[in-house]
């Protein structure tokens, strides 16, 4: 499975367009992370707990995107994009989407 932010692939031809696939995950932070973030709000800088949390979420979102594409029989997902949005009560959604395609050697 090729995952890419590009719109075309070198040496490959798109033979089937299977439509949009997406993967998302909503995660809440736990108390420890929230407490540290409170301190960091005074001195500024990176909120490492949040960075980790969103990295894990992003990996999971990509994994779900890949599973959906695989179940459709796709060879590649092109033009992948990420979006993060804050949901109420301290939870964030990480969302990945792209276009599932079948390809063959040109």
């Amino acid at each position: 499975m090729i995952l890419s932010t590009l719109e075309t692939l070198p040496g490959l031809m798109i033979t089937h367009h299977l439509g949009v696939v997406s993967g998302s995950t909503v995660r809440a932070k736990h108390f420890g992370r929230d407490f540290m973030a409170g301190l960091k709000n005074i001195v500024g800088g990176e909120l490492k707990g949040y960075t980790e949390l969103l990295n894990e979420s992003r990996q999971q979102a990509v994994e779900r995107l890949r599973q959906q594409a695989e179940s459709m029989g796709a060879d590649a997902v092109l033009n992948i994009r990420f979006a993060t949005s804050s949901i109420a009560a301290g939870a964030a959604e990480v969302f990945a989407y792209g276009t599932a395609v079948k390809v063959s050697r040109a």
Binding site: T8, I42, V43, G44, G45, S85, S86
Partner: protein, 163 residues
């Protein structure tokens, strides 16, 4: 009175520690950018040029969540009143964005990629349930890392570094 003192304390701590942390972060960013010169070059272009052999493509993504310090937050509130550029936020976002790009390039470099194509940058505010207060800002950078096919000869030089 107690409230005023704690406000003053937070202001001083925020300014002192915040400025120090920002300076050392910028120093670290500059050093790592120097180390990565001519490695894992970033392109926002979405079409791949002709490359020899069968280069491998990998999705790379990296991000960072940053928060502004207390002093700058107060300054930003004053700016909010008078209008104009909020330069304290500008420097925060600049270093976070450069950090995200650096992390993406470091990841790509670690898997043997020499270029990253179709790079996109994304910014989003993370809040703690109250949409009026922002806990942090997330900056992410992602793209398609290209691992060249070394068996098929040298990859053409697609960039040049100004002297």
């Amino acid at each position: 009175m107690w409230e005023f003192y704690s406000f003053l304390f937070l202001l001083v701590v925020g300014y002192g520690v915040g400025t120090y942390l920002e300076r050392s972060h910028f120093a670290s960013i500059r050093r790592r950018e120097q180390e990565l010169i001519n490695k894992a070059i970033v392109f926002t272009v979405r079409d791949l040029p002709e490359l020899p052999g069968n280069p491998q493509l990998r999705l790379v993504a990296a991000g960072t969540v940053v928060s502004i310090d207390y002093f700058k937050r107060i300054v930003a509130m004053l700016h909010h009143f008078f209008g104009g550029n909020i330069s304290s936020y500008e420097s925060l976002l600049e270093r976070a964005r450069r950090e995200a790009i650096l992390r993406m390039r470091e990841k790509a470099h670690a898997i043997g990629a020499t270029m990253i194509f179709g790079v996109r940058l994304e910014t989003s505010a993370i809040n703690d349930g109250n949409p009026k207060t922002t806990t942090g800002v997330e900056l992410i950078a992602y793209g398609t890392a290209i691992i060249p096919d070394h068996t098929a000869g040298a990859t053409p030089q697609l960039w040049h570094t100004p002297a």
